[in-house]
């Protein structure tokens, strides 16, 4: 409950307008929504392309003790040794597969919100089968990255020895996630927790992201509802043409530059009542489990997909916010 209250509070704070948005000096064409992901006109789409269209599982991470950007190579070495040891202990990995696993740890300095943020850290596991020749292609089998986008709330309250990278995103097999996670936990005395996304937050995402301007033809705004507790479970997918969804949101949102809870509620209620008019089903009584728009999709189990590089940082800002609220 506290987490939710905290989030609502912060959303309320952000909705009154952060200087942050204006500091970036975006063009006046785009609606200035400090809360909504902003189009990053200076982001290099090439550098972030590898993050797009992949499914990332989300975790919140407590601050890392005595982590240093200068020792990334050493961390890669140590993690590599750890993985090899785990394999030998028999706590592996994939049955019957003998893989030579290589670890790379790098910094992504362009993935941050403010200057106070720590640069994002990327961990990648690649493999090469020992049978194939030395210089053959390595295959990327697992990626995980820590990041902090506008995490001032957390970082300003934390002692010097700690590094704040509260959001962790993973793509790859669970067995590797648990090995890498264990190593980080042991080495930096931090802890990981799956980040769930509540229906409340999903509604915010639906409203915010629907309002974002997208250059090319956008995909539909889709809401997925689940009714598991019936004798026969039911899933409902409700997809709205992106232009129509945006037109609705534009009439709901009264003040450019801020979004308030009431507006999100009105937006969702409009969609629910349009649905009810046709089917006489109360969507509000079901569970909203997934939201999909042209810029990103999010699932309540804490799974995200980024679809547009120019809104990447904006979405990360929201996710960082969620991670921080789960930690506190």
């Amino acid at each position: 409950v506290e987490g939710v209250a905290r989030t609502l509070l912060s959303f309320g704070r952000l909705s009154r307008g952060l200087p942050f948005g204006r500091a970036h000096g975006l063009s006046s064409r785009d609606p200035l929504l400090p809360l909504a992901p902003r189009s990053q006109e200076n982001a290099d789409p090439q550098r972030t392309a590898f993050l797009l269209r992949k499914q990332w599982t989300l975790y919140s991470v407590t601050p890392l003790y005595r982590f240093s950007n200068a020792h990334l190579r050493d961390y890669a070495r140590l993690l590599s040794a750890f993985i090899a040891a785990e394999k030998q202990k028999g706590l592996a990995v994939e049955v019957g597969v003998e893989l030579d696993i290589k670890v790379a740890v790098s910094s992504l300095p362009y993935l941050k919100g403010s200057d106070q943020d720590q640069a994002a850290i990327l961990v990648q596991l690649s493999s090469r089968s020992p049978a194939s020749p030395k210089n053959s292609e390595e295959k990327l089998i697992w990626s995980g990255w820590f990041c902090c986008v506008s995490g001032d709330d957390l970082s300003k309250n934390v002692p010097e020895d700690f590094t704040c990278l509260p959001l962790f995103l993973v793509n790859g097999a669970e067995c590797y996630t648990s090995i890498v996670g264990s190593w980080f936990q042991k080495t930096f005395d931090c802890s990981f927790r799956r980040l769930a996304i509540s229906p409340l937050i999903l509604s915010w995402m639906a409203a915010m992201w629907t309002g974002c301007k997208v250059d090319k033809t956008a995909s539909a705004m889709e809401l997925v509802f689940s009714v598991p507790c019936l004798p026969q479970p039911l899933d409902i997918s409700y997809a709205i043409h992106p232009e129509d969804a945006k037109a609705l949101w534009d009439t709901v949102q009264k003040t450019p530059g801020e979004i308030i809870q009431e507006e999100v509620d009105v937006f969702m209620d409009c969609l629910y009542s349009h649905f009810h008019r046709h089917f006489r089903i109360h969507l509000s009584a079901t569970k909203l489990v997934k939201v999909s728009t042209a810029i990103a999709s999010a699932h309540c189990d804490g799974i995200i997909k980024f679809l547009q590089s120019q809104y990447l940082t904006g979405v990360l800002m929201l996710l960082t916010e969620l991670a921080i609220s789960q930690i506190e």
């Binding site: 039911l234 409902i236 009439t251």
Partner: protein, 346 residues
């Protein structure tokens, strides 16, 4: 025996659950009783299938015979495929006597005149169901036995069930062949699709118990009502409302078990209407939506919504009309009518 035939038989046997293999081979009838007795059906499937292939070699089984095993498998497990329903149309002639031999001949002739390389098998089952398996090739390639189309035709009806894995380009030819062979004039695809072949049959053959508006609602004593609590201090709130919901729900869904469908899809092109006080969207164009309901047993699921408090009773006719209209794909537009609350579905 061709190694492609051997491989095809091997793979077909592997699909079958181990406990069913013996029965299906018996139905198939290509291996003698003596031969079947030499197979150890307790060993792993890989080995069973190798043994079967070995015996088929001895019998010089050809691809057309091998295909029969595939039909048998699909007849027992039709729900692994998605089936579309088609309806054929005559121009008001009397029902003619159905000649199976004539049907097969005309069907094969039409397909073969267009495509040299095609494998066609027929198998008749009870209730006048004719199963047709077609493996498609091209002028230069042999038929692809791994992507066959399946057709189930009930000769006493105008309905044909086609398994949707048909390569799109062959569909018009297939439809033509069916119409010609069965002496109909035309064929149209119904907006009805499901994995459950039997449920599709239930719907088009009206084999489910339909909902009738009763003027004399049955008194509730006949139904299994949850036993009243012995403690008189416990009162069921809204008992009247609960009973009303149950009754109305039964009226719109009918009493018997629902046909089994997995999804229903609605393309909405209706206007967005809101409370004028809310001061939101007021467009003259439709609010375009696509709604999809999915469930292992959709109609039963929808039936349980009102009693669970998640839907009004009666629930929308857009949902309850699915079996009668024999469709699960709808396009809903606003009715240009005096009463803006009604919808029309073409």
């Amino acid at each position: 025996m061709d190694e492609t035939v051997a491989e095809y038989i091997r793979r077909t046997v592997l699909k079958i659950p181990r406990d069913e293999i013996k029965t299906m081979l018996e139905k198939w009838g290509l291996l003698s009783e003596t031969q079947l007795q030499t197979i150890n059906f307790r060993q792993i499937k890989e080995n069973i299938s190798q043994d079967v292939v070995q015996l088929c070699e001895e019998n010089s089984v050809d691809i057309k015979q091998a295909a029969v095993l595939d039909i048998i498998y699909n007849h027992v497990y039709p729900n692994k495929r998605v089936w579309c329903v088609y309806q054929m149309k005559k121009t008001g002639e009397e029902a003619e006597f159905f000649d199976l031999t004539d049907f097969k001949k005309k069907f094969k002739r039409r397909l073969r005149s267009a495509l040299k390389n095609v494998t066609i098998n027929f198998r008749e089952y009870e209730d006048n169901a004719i199963w047709i398996r077609i493996a498609w090739g091209t002028p230069c390639t042999k038929p692809n036995q791994y992507k066959p189309s399946y057709v189930v035709y009930h000769s006493q009806t105008p309905y044909v069930f086609i398994s949707a894995s048909v390569l799109k380009s062959n569909l018009p030819l297939l439809c033509q062949a069916l119409v010609l062979a069965s002496n109909y004039h035309d064929i149209r695809e119904m907006e009805l699709r499901s994995h459950s072949l039997n449920s599709l049959k239930d719907i088009v053959f009206k084999r489910y118990s339909q909902n009738f508006q009763t003027h004399y609602p049955r008194p509730l004593q006949e139904r299994n009502v949850a036993p009243e609590s012995a403690d008189l201090r416990i009162i069921q709130e809204n008992r009247n409302e609960k009973e009303r919901i149950e009754r109305v729900n039964r009226e719109v869904f009918g009493d018997g078990p629902q046909p089994k469908l997995e999804f229903a899809q609605y393309k909405l092109e209706t206007m967005f209407k809101s409370d004028p006080q809310m001061d939101v969207l007021d467009k003259k164009e439709p609010f375009r939506c696509l709604v999809k309901f999915s469930s292992p047993h959709l109609l039963e699921s929808l039936k349980s919504l009102a009693p669970a408090g998640m839907a009004d009773a009666p629930i929308s006719p857009l949902l309850t009309c699915i079996p009668q209209k024999a469709r699960n794909y709808f396009k809903i537009r606003e009715k240009k009518h005096f009463f803006p609350e009604s919808f029309v579905s073409p």
